[in-house]
Amino acid sequence: MTLEAPLPHQDDDLLDRQLNAGQLQAAGQWTMVWNKFRKHKLAVVSLFVVALIYFVALLAEFLAPYDPGKFDPRYTYVPPQSIGWFVDDGAGGQSFQPHVIGFDIKLDPVSFRRIFTPDPTQVIPIGFFVPGQSYKMWGLFDMNLHFIGPLDPSQPFFLAGGDRLGRDLLSRTIHGTRISMSIGLVGVGLSLLIGMILGGISGYRGGMVDRVIQRVIEFIRSVPTIPLWLGLAAAMPKDWPPLQVYFAILIILSLIGWTEIARVVRGRFLSLRTDDFVIAARLDGVSEFRLIMRHMMPSLYSHIIAAITLAIPNMILAETSLSFLGLGLQPPIVSWGVLLQDTQNLRAITQAPWLFVPGACVVLAVLALNFLGDGVRDAADPYAK
């Protein structure tokens, strides 16, 4: 019996194949995550939706036709207009001219309500990148260019309808996007800070510290959140300026939000701590700091991103609920929750359903973030089998 026969083994075969394939083996963590994430089609779509929403939040002043506070007493509860693209050019043909149709306004003497009848003869030409109300972009540059607006600024232009003071709901929703989405982001940022530190300590140190932190987390999670939020929100000094209230709300939301992130971080740390590759790194003589930052954290990033993505919608919903109860943000700050206070009125349901537009935005944003988070979570560990 000879042992000389070369052993055709799968291993060498695999290596050959891979050396020729060239790409896969050089794929780093993020490439792997992305490749896996890409398979979740809804998550990819959601990623674009979320990006779009944050884009809107970033460029709110420019994208909104008007300042959120601008009112027009003639147009209280005006229904939404739709954009037409062609107008009769008078010679029987059509020419390209984006426009909206103006209204014939009558006052109903019984209900004291304005009746808006679209009047096709009132063609209001609109344009893109038109000059309008001036504003300070990000509080820095004076600008007056708006992405979309009527060519004649005195003409009515309400793509999403008007509210009870004749304010443009589209502009308000766009500005509300900034507040609501940043509440989510900054709030989660704060949660992340607390959650990472406490969760990290809890998971890495273990023992007594872990037990104490775990009890605290369990306790916080067992407290019904809304009464707690209400109490804390009611505790806010009422003379705080809106911006301060905004940050206080953030802190309140984060006070509870961090537990979920801490749980994820701790869980990962606990399992990582005993993972062979971490022990191997320790036995390489790696310093504790480098061990955590270089060897453990990279395995956490994608989980943390998933946790964040899933936490943001909760923050947004929480803000909405608090504002709805009148204990969150207050006018003149415009957030989706503040806007939704208007829907508490039966008039919104019966006569001005467009006031639910911010609600649709909440649903869309939360939906997109949830799908995104789902996708990221599934893709978070590309090495798992």
Binding site: L3, I279, G285, S287
Partner: protein, 559 residues
């Protein structure tokens, strides 16, 4: 008595495909074989050979998205032959076969039984499923079955849960369940792989015994040629989904026809004879001396008061490792051997004893009581190779980053120097030098273990603690890795503490061996002496339980 002329099961041209992302994996390709009553057919092959899929296909248990794409599986019944492939994987026709005519036992006794149902519930359910008898009768039968598989106190055992049993007991219960409806065929899919070697021996003899009693046909799936040699009547060798060779067990071991079979047998047999060793110096110079080392974990730690009991993972171990020597530690699961290895590097802090270590410069330190800084200076000299090459390499770091990490912390090499060094190391462990920018997932288990070894030898260590470095590898790879380690030993004058459950690997690789049980060393001595003339009962039991890859040693071997 038994009709052995006509096969009870005829598998013809069976193919099973798994559609992958962009390609199709042909897990089983055009495989045909017969199974006769009263015989044991061993299907042997390495991981990925398609042996398990073949076994599952017979019961229509191929997991999604796998699919039987061609072939037939004819089962002989009183009413003539039934083609199992045609029955599909749902419906009562196939269910009438599962469990009743063909029963199956699985590799993982730990997870193959439901954790939330009693053993009795699961066995009785099977009986009631296929036979119209009362619950009481079924219970009596189940108790008898447990008794038959030698589970003590069978009636009480019926009411216990699987997690209350040891692995061997669970596998016995599994077998009892499989036998509950007197199946004609028993498919055993690596039933002993997860078990300790002594338990494996018991289970193997149990299966053999039951088969004789009942005249069952057994289809036994395994990767272990030792097991094959011990239990097979006929052997079918599979490789990458295809049948390579089928023969009588004695013929196969004596005259393998195919190159693959020869290579496979060769790599198994190679381990049977100890590797050539470098000559030992006359005067042994210790590199590490373990003295009465202990590691006790407190059980039920309360907030207050002292724990009432301790888990004695290491219970007073003394062992000396000499320079250039390979000391093996062998033991079954739970014996404390892995813990011992890790405690030597202070992954766990010992609760008693000393570990004297003589450094390269001749000074000696006590690892057991060394401070953080002291330990840090040792990490370059004492290295570790882990069992699982999948989990011991950080999937998020490149091969270069992984291998250079110890260089970074233990030397002051420049990045450029490290790059050169890593290439040199890769070449040394038999890998291409240009793979530094790749990630571990691009490599197979054997390759990863080489990378692990490259990392271990990166800083010119003196002592390497190798914790089962070959047990996750296929048999054909084991001696390659061991030979590499051997070469490195002579090249760098390394000492090894080699931990393994596999006595054959120990015998192949080690100079001396310590046998551990329950945290204690029961016997220690020269490898040859321990393997040939074990003194301690336990050692004897351990060694005799190892199935030797030689069917001629069997009682029923033809003269």
């Amino acid at each position: 008595m038994i009709d052995t002329a006509t096969p009870i099961l005829r598998v013809s041209n069976l193919s099973v495909d798994f559609p992958m992302h962009k390609s199709v994996l042909h897990a089983v390709k055009d495989v045909s074989f017969d199974l006769h009553r009263g015989e044991t057919l061993c299907v042997v092959g390495e991981s990925g050979s398609g042996k398990s899929v073949t076994a599952r296909a017979i019961l229509q248990l191929v997991a999604k998205p796998g699919e039987i794409t061609a072939g037939s599986i004819h089962l002989a019944t009183e009413a003539g032959e039934v083609d199992i492939v045609a029955l599909g994987n749902r419906g009562s026709a196939i269910r009438q076969i599962r469990g009743r005519r063909i029963a199956m036992i699985f590799q993982e006794p730990m997870t193959s039984l439901s954790p939330v149902h009693t053993i009795g519930h699961q066995i009785i359910e099977t009986i009631l499923l296929h036979e119209k008898i009362s619950k009481e009768e079924a219970r009596i039968r189940a108790a008898a079955l447990l008794d038959r598989v030698r589970i003590p106190n069978p009636d009480a055992a019926l009411d216990r849960y699987s997690f209350e049993f040891s692995g061997g007991m669970r596998q016995r219960a599994m077998i009892a369940m499989a036998l509950s409806c007197n199946p004609e065929i028993l498919i055993a899919d690596e039933p002993t792989t997860a078990l300790d070697v002594t338990t494996q021996a018991e289970i193997l003899s149990l299966i053999r015994e039951l088969q004789r009693d009942r005249g069952m046909a057994v289809l036994f799936i395994t990767h272990d040629m030792g097991v094959v040699a011990q239990i097979a009547d006929r052997v079918m060798v599979m490789f990458r989904g295809e049948k390579v060779e089928e023969a009588n067990v004695f013929d196969l071991f004596a005259r393998p026809q195919q190159a693959y079979t020869r290579a496979l047998l060769g790599s198994v047999l190679k381990l049977e004879t100890p590797a050539p060793r470098p000559a030992r110096p006359m005067a042994e110079k210790p590199i590490a001396e373990i003295n009465d080392l202990a590691l006790h974990f407190p059980l039920n730690p309360g907030f207050f008061g002292r724990p009432t009991a301790y888990l004695k993972a290491i219970d007073g171990v003394s062992l000396t490792i000499n320079q250039g020597e390979t000391v093996g530690v062998v033991g079954e699961s739970g014996s404390g051997k892995t813990t011992l290895g890790r405690t030597l590097l202070r992954v766990y802090n010992p609760t008693g004893g000393q570990v004297h270590y003589w450094r390269g410069d001749g000074t000696s330190v006590d690892i057991a009581s060394l401070g953080k800084a002291g330990m840090k200076s040792l990490y370059g000299e004492v290295r570790m190779v882990f069992q699982d090459p999948h989990s011991s390499l950080n999937p998020r770091m490149t091969i270069y980053q992984i291998i250079s990490e110890p260089l970074r912390t233990n030397t002051d090499m420049s990045e450029h120097q490290m790059m050169d060094r890593v290439q040199e190391l890769l070449t040394r462990v038999g890998l291409p030098a240009d793979i530094g920018d790749r990630y571990p997932h691009a490599f197979s288990g054997g390759q990863r273990q080489r990378i692990s070894i490259a990392r271990a030898i990166a800083v010119r260590p003196r002592l390497i603690i190798a914790d089962e470095p070959t047990s996750a590898l296929d048999v054909s790879l084991r001696h390659q890795v061991l030979d590499l380690m051997r070469d490195l030993q002579s090249e760098f004058g390394l000492s090894y503490l080699f931990i393994s459950h596999d006595i054959s690997v120990i015998r192949y690789f080690c100079d001396r061996v310590a046998v551990m049980k329950n945290g204690k060393i029961v016997e220690i001595g020269d490898v040859a002496q321990i393997c040939e003339r074990p003194q301690h009962d336990y050692t004897r039991q351990l060694i005799s339980a190892v199935p030797r890859p030689d069917p001629r040693l069997r009682a029923d071997a033809p003269a």
